[in-house]
């Protein structure tokens, strides 16, 4: 899949146990992602909810795999009222491995193409996330930096 996967790696100076808690527990998800999060004990099939603002934006998250402290994966942005499945949602996977006294976190988000978004949006999501717009954005950024926002 040409535009199938976004990948990120980050080293964290905390044990995989701690990192697993932060990525999977609703009280922490509220600190790094949604304004409000609800999610039961992470296990395959468990459905949680992410809420932004005064329920202006609500997304469900469906746990696909939970193997503490190694792996946590879930699907999100499925259409309202439909169970999340391959083809209608994005699959986010966190893989944790011990590294240099801390944790190496590997994030992947797949499913852009399956989701069948508008081609432009799809491409933009991917390119923008993955390549940082190579030649274009750096120039735009320096250009925009000299502009006064209205």
């Amino acid at each position: 899949m040409e535009f199938g996967t976004l990948e990120r790696r980050i080293h964290i100076d905390a044990s995989p146990d701690v990192v697993f808690e932060v990525i999977s527990r609703p009280e922490h998800i509220e600190e790094w992602w949604a304004d409000e999060a609800s999610l039961g004990e992470p296990a395959p099939g468990v459905v949680g909810e992410l809420v932004w603002g005064d329920r202006e934006h609500v997304a469900t998250m469906t746990v696909v795999d939970a193997d503490p402290p190694r792996r946590f994966s879930f699907r999100w942005v499925a259409p309202e009222g439909e169970p999340a499945a391959p083809g209608n949602s994005l699959l986010v996977t966190f893989e944790l491995s011990p590294s240099r006294g801390g944790t190496l976190l590997l994030l992947t988000e797949t499913g852009f193409r399956e989701k069948g978004w508008e081609i432009a949006v799809l491409e933009e999501q991917y390119r923008d996330h993955e390549n940082g717009w190579d030649a274009f954005l750096p120039r735009l950024a320096s250009y925009a930096g000299g502009l006064v926002p209205r």
Partner: protein, 112 residues
């Protein structure tokens, strides 16, 4: 996720050829369908269509010059597009930075 992004503006810059055209217009200050097509692997007609899309969302403005129209990038609209795109593109990076900060703070509090 992308609810704050203006869909038309988003689509307009979602095309690699149009981004390349904006890049050329920025580098050269202005351009015409003819001058741009000379530097791109697409026909003048295709460039003209892309310019019309960019014009519609206000990213470029045209002034007539003889038989051609001369296009320039609109500063304010471009700044707006950049702000929106940067915000969306940085989402996972920002989330991961927060995850790192939170986990490291917890780790420090537990080892003290």
């Amino acid at each position: 996720m992308s609810s704050a992004v203006d869909d038309d503006l988003w689509s307009a810059v979602g095309d690699p050829t149009r981004r390349r055209m904006l890049d050329l217009l920025l580098a050269e200050g202005s351009g015409t369908a003819t001058s741009l097509s000379a530097q791109l692997p697409v026909t003048r007609q295709a460039v003209a269509k892309h310019l019309a899309v960019l014009d519609r969302v206000g990213l470029v403005h045209a002034t007539p010059s003889g038989r051609e129209r001369v296009y320039r990038v609109d500063d304010a609209q471009l700044a707006r597009a950049v702000a929106q795109l940067s915000a969306v593109g940085a989402t996972w990076d920002a989330r991961l930075r927060r995850i790192k900060r939170i986990a490291e703070a917890i780790e420090r509090s537990r080892t003290q």
